[in-house]
């Protein structure tokens, strides 16, 4: 065990305890380490990520979508897109995978206490925001008003639909949904998340905005937030990149002199604006 901990490239064996269809091409995997989700994962903080191995294909990084306070099973929302995610989608409950983590920094949830929070999630990219929402909802009195803007291309691609009632019914919490391409049953907003943001027109006063989604969404949302008066240190994002170690060594995820894996994946725009290389 000590040896495995010292060798951070060595995955820990884990079992898929739940595999659930969330949306077309998106599955939610519940993972339990064979030796229990020990101390490492008990300390997982919102924003952190882990590598999942599909043995025989390789491993890839995914934002951790679960919160230790809500149970020991690690959860990951995985869209089938590349080699590793395709291999993962072929696995079922009971199959074994590898896990390395938790890795990276996290949202400074302590610093967000007492503040109003604006959480903006787009598509599967919004998956790592779930621990942020859970942390706020489970410690509701510690945070101010919570406004969630949740977007997807199509209603079927909206993540965490089964939790919306919980989110909506929490104290001082509002949820706004929008899709680009509505279906017949859709009665929410239609259009990009930026249009929804314009409609909501939140005040930047004592508020922190947290955005997670595809880079182009982050870019336009962030630009709009800046126009609305949110200062760089009131705007947080999580960035993602191809990675092969998550430990600051493989070199793959650099944005200039910053490494997304160890300096991120959570950044304030005050940090991002200092970076010479664009995250786009």
């Amino acid at each position: 065990m000590n040896r495995a901990r010292a060798n951070r490239m060595m995955p820990q064996l884990a079992r898929l305890v739940t595999v659930r269809d969330m949306a077309p091409e998106i599955k939610m995997f519940g993972v339990e380490l064979l030796n229990g989700n020990g101390a490492e994962f008990a300390g997982t903080r919102p924003g952190q990520f882990a590598f999942i191995s599909a043995f025989g294909t390789g491993e890839a990084p995914f934002g951790i979508a679960s919160t230790p306070g809500r149970g020991p099973v690690l959860e990951f929302a995985v869209q089938r897109l590349g080699a590793v995610t395709t291999a993962l989608h072929e696995l079922g409950e009971g199959n074994m995978v590898g896990i390395r983590g938790p890795l990276g920094n996290c949202f400074p949830m302590k610093a967000f206490e007492e503040k109003d929070l604006l959480v903006l999630g787009g598509g599967v990219g919004g998956a790592p925001l779930r621990p942020v929402l859970h942390t706020i909802l489970d410690n509701r009195a510690d945070y101010g008003h919570l406004t969630i803007l949740w977007a997807a291309r199509h209603p079927s691609l909206l993540l965490y639909r089964e939790e919306y009632d919980d989110w909506r019914s929490a104290a001082s919490t509002e949820l706004h949904l929008t899709v680009d391409e509505p279906d017949q049953d859709w009665d929410g907003d239609v259009g990009l998340i930026t249009e929804l943001l314009q409609k909501i027109d939140p005040s930047p006063r004592n508020t922190v905005a947290i955005t997670c989604g595809p880079p182009v969404m982050i870019y336009y949302v962030d630009r709009l937030l800046a126009e609305m008066g949110f200062a760089p240190d009131q705007r947080y994002v999580t960035l993602e990149a191809r990675m092969h170690c998550g430990l600051g060594q493989c070199g793959r995820c650099n944005l200039g002199e910053k490494l997304i894996c160890v300096d991120g994946p959570v950044f304030s725009m005050a940090e991002v604006e200092q970076m010479r290389e664009s995250y786009l």
Partner: protein, 347 residues
Amino acid sequence: MKIISQGALTELLDQVAREKRLIAPVEEAGTIRYRPVGGSGEIAFDFARPLLSIKEAFFPPTETLLTIARNGGQVTLQEVMPEEEQVIFGVRPCDARGVKALDAVFSGERVPPDPYYGRRRQQTTLIGLACREMGETCFCTSVGGAPDEAGNVDLMLTEVEDGYAVEAITSRGESLLQGMTLTDVTGAPSPPRLNDPVPVPAAGAWAEQFEDAFWAALGERCLSCRLCAYVCPTCRCFDVRDEPLPAGQTQPDPQTQYLERVRCWDSCTGANYRRVAGGHNPRAEEGERLRNRFFCKFDFYPQQYGPLACTGCGRCIDVCPVNVDVTEVLAAVAAMVPVKIPEEVSA
């Protein structure tokens, strides 16, 4: 200075080869490569800069991190650690500097140490050999090194008339010399022949040149072949993937699939280096990738770890099929630096 004769040195190396893995420069089809040798007879003692640096002795082009046995949904893993002690003879000062640059990344304080690299490093003794002269494309003296720099190795040798001047740098180097007959002579080895220095921009000068059109123009030439990174003593980017275990290795159970997870060299100049699943490629242009490589050497790495990540070995200049020349890049960036015009002295 203490002198070890050629005879005594070959004896020492033969002794080492009997006990440990000895890696030394060997002539292979007209090029010099560092290779494991069975004895001193195979070694090229008089050699110019080898084709590849000694990087591969610590960070192999491909190495197995673990083996995987998969039977249906069940998996067992076996960590694979390098175990062999090795001695490298004929380490040029630039390459020894390169190892130091790798140490910061793989065994440093900034991120958790890599046990594979650390194990190899710990089990390796470096015997340095000073250069008598700088090669045509060498510029080590411009980036802080020297052809006869003695640091960064365990034992340093410098060719002199009657053999090699020898200096133990570490206790490990000292123990290699135990029981050896060394001659004490006065004087010092004659200094190496140096090239004229090339201009190197000040560390702070790079930042403002990130958006310069120079990089796109340079990128027009780049073939994204990645040779520059493979020959570089400090490039250390890698890929990790699972491969079937090569035939011939122990595969006892016919129902089980045997695989290995390998780590292999990669380079930020490769076209798909940052391409993510789904096809988005954040560094799609050759110029953006070359810019990243040069900034990594002279700006990013220094910000992260201190020293430059270039040893001035000149290998990338020699191998580039389209003549991208790091010294020309340095000169160009140095020339871009806005000249500070002194305020007019009021008459």
